[in-house]
C-alpha cells in the first residue's frame, strides 16, 4: 500500500489531550491523538489512526471496512487492535515491556501485521 492513499484525504480529527479510561473518539475520517490512549479508552475512525504517544487502549481503524486503514503510534502496546473486520490482540504471555519505538499496524495478505514505522518516501 502506498501513501498517500484515498483515506489520507478524509477530514482529520485532532485530539489534543490524552484519552483516559472511559473516554472515546468516533470519527468519520482520520484521527490524530496528541497524547496517549490509555487502557479502557477507545478510538474508532473510518480512516487512519495516529497516536503521538503510547497506545495502550483499543483502537479501530477503517471502522467501516476499509482494509487500507493503518494504526501508527510512537509506542504500540495496545489492549486490542482492529482494522476493518480484523481483530487482533497481543499473544497471551507476550511481554508487556515498553517498546519505545514507533510502529505501524496494517493489513497485509489478509492479516494484521505490525512493522517498524518508516517515513513515507
Amino acid at each position: 500500500m502506498e501513501w498517500p492513499d484515498r483515506l489520507t484525504n478524509l477530514p482529520t480529527t485532532m485530539v489534543n489531550h490524552t484519552l483516559r479510561s472511559g473516554q472515546s473518539i468516533n470519527s468519520d475520517g482520520n484521527v490524530v491523538v496528541l497524547g496517549d490512549v490509555n487502557p479502557g479508552a477507545e478510538v474508532a475512525a473510518v480512516g487512519h489512526i495516529v497516536v503521538m504517544g503510547t497506545l495502550r487502549g483499543v483502537v479501530h481503524a477503517g471502522s467501516t471496512g476499509n482494509e487500507d486503514a493503518t494504526i501508527t503510534a510512537l509506542e504500540l502496546i495496545p489492549t486490542q487492535l482492529r482494522i476493518a473486520t480484523h481483530i487482533t490482540r497481543p499473544p497471551d504471555g507476550c511481554s508487556k515491556d515498553r517498546s519505545y519505538r514507533p510502529e505501524t499496524a496494517r493489513i497485509k495478505d489478509d492479516e494484521v501485521i505490525i512493522e517498524e514505522y518508516n517515513t513515507p518516501k
Partner: protein, 265 residues
C-alpha cells in the same frame, strides 16, 4: 478563605477514608483549621476511623436541608480543638443531597476553615458528582494494582471534564520488596500511565489496620512509616517542599530500610 480538596479514587478500598482522616489530622497537628466532610451517604465510615462515631447527632443531610444549623452538625474532634467532622447520614442515600447544595455547603465551610477535605464515595455516579461539585482541587488515591490504576485514570478524566483543576496523585500501600522483585507496579509504571503530579507515596503497613480499628489516625504516631508519609503530604498541601520518601532498601533488612527512611537517603 480556605481550600476545598476532594479525596477520590473510583475504586473502593484503596484508602480514601484513611487518607482523608490522616491528612485532616496532620493538617490539624500543623495548627490549620480543618473540617472533613464524609459524603459517603448510607455507608459512612470516616466517623469510625476518626473515633468520633458516638458523638454524631446531626449529619450532612440535616445540615443541607436546614434541619439544624451547620455548626450543630459539625463534630469537634476529641484530640484537636481545630479539627471538625461533618458526618454522612447513614439511613439515607446519595440522592438526599444535590450538587447545588454541596456547592453552597463548601462555600460556607471554606469561609470558616483553612482546609475543607471531602471524602468521596467509591464509584462515578451521584455520590461522586456530589463530592466533586464544590471542590477546587482533587487528590486521587490509587494502589499499585492494575484495576485501581485503571479506575484512577477514569476518575482523572472525569475530574478534568468537570474542570476540577489538575488532580494530584497519592500512591497508597506500596510494598517495596514486591516492587523490587517485579511483582508490583512501580511508582514510575503508574505515573507513565496516569501522567499527573505525584503528591506522595505511602508504604503498606499493618499499623494502618490497627490505627483504623482503634479510631486513632496513624499520623499521630511518630514512629509510624505511613504516618510520616501522610505528614509529608500534609506539608506539601501547605505549600512546603518535602522530598519523596525513599522506599528503596539498600539491603533487604527491615532495620536498614528504617534507617534509610529516617536519614532521608
Amino acid at each position: 478563605m480556605g481550600k476545598v480538596i476532594v479525596i477520590t479514587s473510583g475504586k473502593g478500598g484503596v484508602g480514601k477514608t484513611t487518607t482523608t482522616a490522616n491528612l485532616g489530622t496532620a493538617l490539624a497537628m500543623f495548627d490549620k483549621k480543618v473540617v472533613m466532610v464524609d459524603t459517603d451517604i448510607g455507608l459512612r465510615n470516616l466517623d469510625v476511623v476518626l473515633g468520633l462515631e458516638n458523638r454524631i447527632v446531626y449529619d450532612i443531610v440535616d445540615a443541607v436541608r436546614g434541619n439544624c444549623r451547620l455548626n450543630q452538625a459539625l463534630i469537634k474532634d476529641k484530640r484537636f480543638e481545630n479539627m471538625f467532622l461533618l458526618p454522612a447520614a447513614q439511613t439515607k442515600d446519595k440522592t438526599a443531597v444535590t450538587e447545588d447544595q454541596m456547592v453552597e455547603l463548601c462555600d460556607k465551610l471554606k469561609d470558616e476553615f483553612d482546609f475543607v477535605i471531602i471524602d468521596c464515595p467509591a464509584g462515578i455516579e451521584h455520590g461522586f458528582r456530589n463530592a466533586i461539585a464544590g471542590a477546587e482541587e482533587a487528590i486521587v488515591v490509587t494502589t499499585p494494582e492494575v484495576s485501581a490504576v485503571r479506575d484512577a485514570d477514569r476518575i482523572i478524566g472525569l475530574l478534568e471534564a468537570a474542570e476540577v483543576r489538575s488532580p494530584r496523585l497519592i500512591i497508597n500501600r506500596i510494598r517495596t520488596n514486591m516492587v523490587q522483585t517485579g511483582d508490583m507496579m512501580s511508582v514510575d509504571d503508574i505515573l507513565s500511565i496516569l501522567a499527573v503530579e505525584l503528591l506522595g507515596i505511602v508504604p503498606d503497613d499493618d499499623a494502618i489496620i490497627i490505627s483504623t480499628n482503634r479510631g486513632e489516625p496513624t499520623v499521630m504516631d511518630d514512629a509510624s512509616l505511613p504516618g510520616q508519609a501522610y505528614r509529608n503530604i500534609a506539608h506539601r498541601l501547605c505549600g512546603e517542599e518535602v522530598p519523596l520518601m525513599t522506599l528503596t532498601p539498600k539491603k533487604n533488612s527491615f532495620f536498614s530500610r528504617l534507617k534509610s527512611l529516617f536519614s532521608g537517603e
